[in-house]
């Protein structure tokens, strides 16, 4: 059998038996393993087979990077990307494509004569392996993009400056203070000091797991910059183990510090000439709490 005949056999397989292949693919697909619904599997499967049928009919059977396979790549790319973004595992994603083998091989068994069956099987195998690899590659890329975006978001989100009172702002730090984040932190703080005309800035490091000399240096720089803007700084939330470590490191944190954010706020209020006192019982305003029944 000539090469072109073999190609024709592959084309025939896709064009004449598309619905049988789809039916067998979907019915033998382990829906539990791929976490797909029947409808999803059917519509995705149809899209893949359709694109694949067209690509094969154009006469290219092996090279997934070629122009004929643009549709196939689009379909797989969208599928894989979606699954990755929704948090499915690589196995759950790739199993769907790889199980196409079963549908195709089943049809080959029915259709092909024994001597050309092997050739056809081999081609189909190669094709599906490529589809599988492409799917996993796309999946991986999407996950990496996701992680990169998340770490960027965390960097921005994790450095909010909050106004606690007129003239008092707080900067709750969470995580590691590397040079990249210190820049963002310092800029946020200085801008907020200008906007809110703050006199006192509280830097809370309860969420900082470790203070080494570099972190200490960054903290001190932030404090001196705030001072130049006319705001005094209070550092709060230094945990006992961190306090001991800082002392042994030999770093002098020449800043007013308090154990908790609450203590720091109390000091800040006092410094700005305010007092917090308890009201007498009968003049307490009722807190407006929605009744539990009303929420249903």
């Amino acid at each position: 059998m000539a090469d072109s005949d073999k190609d024709q056999a592959l084309v025939r397989l896709f064009t004449q038996r598309e619905s049988e292949i789809l039916a067998e693919w979907v019915s033998t697909l382990n829906l539990g393993e791929t976490k797909m619904t029947l409808q999803e599997a059917e519509s995705q499967g149809r899209a893949v087979l359709h694109a694949l049928g067209k690509a094969v009919a154009h006469g290219n059977h092996g090279d997934m990077r070629s122009a004929e396979y643009a549709d196939v790549r689009d379909v797989l790319h969208a599928f894989s990307r979606n699954r990755a973004l929704q948090g499915f595992s690589p196995t759950e994603t790739a199993t769907f494509i790889l199980s196409l083998k079963r549908g195709l091989l089943g049809q080959i068994r029915k259709a092909a004569q024994s001597e050309d069956a092997f050739d056809l099987l081999w081609r189909v195998n190669q094709l599906i392996d490529q589809l599988g690899l492409f799917t996993v590659e796309t999946y991986q890329k999407t996950r990496e993009e996701l992680i990169a975006r998340q770490s960027k978001e965390i960097e921005e989100l994790s450095t909010p400056v909050v106004k606690l009172w007129d003239g008092i702002v707080a900067l709750p730090l969470i995580g590691t203070l590397d040079s990249g984040r210190t820049q963002v932190v310092m800029q946020n703080l200085l801008e907020t000091i200008v906007q809110t005309e703050a006199e006192i800035a509280i830097i809370d490091i309860t969420g900082v797991p470790m203070v080494d000399t570099l972190t200490a240096q960054h903290l001190l720089k932030t404090v001196s910059a705030a001072r130049l803007m006319g705001a005094d700084c209070i550092i709060s939330g230094i945990r006992p183990q961190i306090a001991q470590t800082i002392v042994q490191l030999g770093v002098e944190l020449n800043v007013v510090s308090k154990a908790t954010l609450a203590d720091a706020l109390a000091l800040a209020l006092k410094r700005t000439g305010r007092v917090v006192s308890k009201l007498k019982a009968k003049s307490l305003p009722a807190l407006q709490e929605p009744a539990a029944e009303a929420r249903g």
Binding site: M210, T213, L214, P240, Q241, G250, V251
Partner: protein
């Protein structure tokens, strides 16, 4: 509990974070107290950063020590320019860069065992260990 050695490269700021996290895992596994953990991690952070900034990159070997004394040992190696005067480098306030100058001396005070070997032009090896008490 792994008794194998983890070897981590130190070539970027992210690697310093990775070294710190690995040391934290080892220190927690062997049951160091929170204060001891924090001290060891801080020392490792200082030395990893020195390896990166002054040693032009290198790697860290992190190992759990089981036996009479149980603890975590970390070895930092670089092939950087080396330290010509070690006592001076260990002095508080001395820095050849623009840091605070407490890193090396501070790291020595934070751990139980501290050893530094340096050959000018060939590189520096710093070994630290913190034992469970």
């Amino acid at each position: 509990m792994p008794t194998t050695t983890d070897t981590l490269p130190i070539t970027s700021g992210d690697d310093v974070v990775r070294v710190r996290q690995k040391v934290r895992v080892r220190a927690t596994e062997i049951g160091l107290s929170l204060v001891d953990q924090t001290k060891l991690i801080t020392a490792a952070s200082e030395l990893a950063r020195n390896t990166l900034d002054y040693g032009k990159g290198g790697h860290a070997d992190i190992e759990t020590v089981l036996g009479d004394r149980r603890g975590v040992r970390v070895i930092f190696r670089d092939r950087g320019p080396g330290i010509p005067d070690i006592p001076q480098a260990l002095t508080d306030g001395f820095t050849s860069g623009n840091g605070l100058g407490h890193g090396l001396g501070g790291a020595r005070r934070l751990v139980d065992d501290f050893d530094i070997q340096s050959i000018v032009g060939a590189g520096t090896t710093v070994t630290i260990a913190r034992w469970k008490r």
